[in-house]
Symmetry: C2
Subunit: 361 residues, 2 copies
């Protein structure tokens, strides 16, 4: 994998990735010549026991360029610079212009609760130069490269002293708030282990202590034996609607062995992971013959310097639709109590996804 590191004139980093050598003379464009660098910060929520990130410079996001202007497209017109250059590469990663967390954050203003600088990293991952592509339409070799890119970000951001947790994710579709249709995802590197993975790891740790086996590994075995919710199984990977799905079309993809992170996968596993990922994505889009919105998140071992033998890499998809045209709204019970109310059984939704035929060369 080739990976030159470039710098934008405002100091932000740009990384290009390819299997082929990348020309050394590519220059990093910048969509905006911003003034003062952002300085986000955190406030402690004493009742919930969690940090809230405040980044008021992000309000600027509303001044979006016209829809025909795509800041994630390759830069052709120098008078309207985009974020990524022309050239022969496959994936680009750069520091978000409107980050929720930055490595240079400093001097959090005091408040009546604890505060801290919003130190961390927010990167944009441009999946491909092809504006018409989707994550699921990318060929397997491209998805395998992307998995290596995510693993590279896990390693490189994870060793930063301020970073304890690296989470790649993709928000897809206007239904989950996406404003740029160009296929892209993000990586957030947090200065703490965030509440959701922290809770999962706590559960996994307790299970491991009691059974000397992994919680997710045992769940995967049980899902395989049950079989009704399996969407795709290959040598090393399983994609399934979990028995405890909160969203109607929730799917998880995980290695069958308890690999702790993306960086732990070998070449064979990356190939299997790419195939499982593509299968799920094509089934999603095939279900109603239209682009299927979702939030896709990666949960893996923290990079906090502690051992995490309980961790088990997995991807969770949260699709907002519960049936064609009907969104699942998070309201009183979900937001106020934390209790998900599901109108559909995971077995039935898995059956629908299983029935969608996909062909991968």
């Amino acid at each position: 994998m080739h990976k030159p590191t470039l710098h934008k004139c405002d100091g932000r980093k740009l990384l290009l990735y390819s299997r082929r050598p990348i020309a050394p003379d590519i220059e990093a464009p910048s969509a905006e010549q911003s003034g003062t660098p952002p300085n986000p910060y955190l406030r402690w929520h004493p009742l919930r026991g969690e940090w809230i990130a405040y980044a008021d410079h992000r309000q600027n996001r509303i001044f979006l360029p016209p829809v025909e202007y795509n800041p994630l497209a390759v830069n052709i017109d120098p008078t309207h610079p985009t974020e990524v250059p022309t050239g022969d590469y496959d994936v680009a990663v750069f520091d978000n212009l409107f980050p929720t967390l930055t490595i240079t954050a400093h001097d959090a203003p005091e408040a009546i609760v604890a505060t801290a600088p919003g130190r961390g990293v927010c990167e944009v991952v441009v999946f491909t130069q092809d504006q018409q592509a989707t994550l699921g339409s990318l060929p397997l070799w491209h998805l395998e490269l992307l998995i290596e890119v995510w693993a590279d970000r896990y390693r490189e951001l994870g060793i930063l002293p301020d970073v304890q947790y690296v989470m790649p994710f993709e928000n897809r579709g206007v239904e989950v708030g996406v404003t740029l249709p160009h296929p892209h995802g993000q990586v957030y590197a947090y200065p703490f282990v965030p509440p959701v993975p922290a809770r999962e790891l706590q559960q996994q740790q307790a299970y491991f202590a009691e059974h000397s086996r992994g919680l997710l590994a045992d769940l995967i075995s049980a899902e395989l034996t049950d079989g009704r919710r399996v969407i795709h199984a290959n040598d090393t990977m399983l994609a399934f609607v979990p028995v405890c799905a909160r969203y109607s079309y929730e799917v998880w993809i995980a290695p069958r062995r308890p690999a702790a992170s993306l960086a732990d996968l070998n070449t064979h596993e990356r190939g299997d992971f790419a195939r499982a990922l593509k299968t799920v994505l094509l089934k999603y889009d095939g279900l109603w013959s239209k682009p299927f919105p979702y939030v896709m998140v990666f949960h893996q071992a923290p990079t906090d310097g502690l051992p995490h033998s309980e961790a088990h890499l997995h991807v969770e998809f949260y699709p907002p639709y519960r049936m064609p045209g009907r969104l699942k709204y998070l309201a009183g019970s979900e937001l106020g109590a934390g209790v998900f109310t599901a109108d559909t059984l995971p077995e039935l939704k898995a059956k629908e996804l299983r029935a969608v035929k996909v062909s991968i060369e």
Copy 2:
């Protein structure tokens, strides 16, 4: 307070509330002659360590009556029965036709994770007979009655052996998924202490153990001293944008003393609470001169038979808008990590709400 208990022909309960005596001959209508009673159940989510409620009969909800037919209106046309009768009363409460939890739930089907009957209560609270009213437009005496109704539900549902937590809430606006515009809320009575209040109580308990004072009581004192985020203060109640707001226009209302539940409020406090509630609601609607959507939830002491000296009643409002026409989407960071990213500072949003003039006789 007068409160006759009626029964619908399908067995569901209907309660009417008024300060005035209610005629004894009122009969309970039923919007639908349903067949088999619903039998929701719970599955354990081992990774998150929480229960998920499955109620597949709720899919029927999609067969909604035409918009001109309002099942929460008083029943005038006997050929199209609604859920509430005509008569001289102010508030009606009845068992939800599509409950996520019912007291008669039994025999949860087995799965590869733990399951349990979805035992509990889901009630609909019709705030008023006036279809054009809103919670904020109701006169103070009516809001005071409603607070007594919520307290009554807390007491009556809380003593059921299966109920450990009673949560009144209101989802308001199509933006949070509401399909019936008639002013109404809901009460969910859970067979366990749900994750969000459980977490809050855990934090409050730890604080109490360390400081011998209440976490929320201390936060309220600090908010009062700081002053910048106070929306309304009276003798016994405080309404404020919390210093750690997750939603742009998040507001909490709480008694200044650590009352554990709605049932603990005295007449004077109910009056003050009604005034604080009406003030916040009128400011919300006045902000952009249009109905302001929100999810409103009550957090109070569990009814699990244990002492909860750490509990402190409070209402939390989660409004989905971060500016006019722009929703805050919960996506990768919020759903996948549990980290809220706020684009706006609580001080500025509080300033906007403080500037909205409201007059309450």
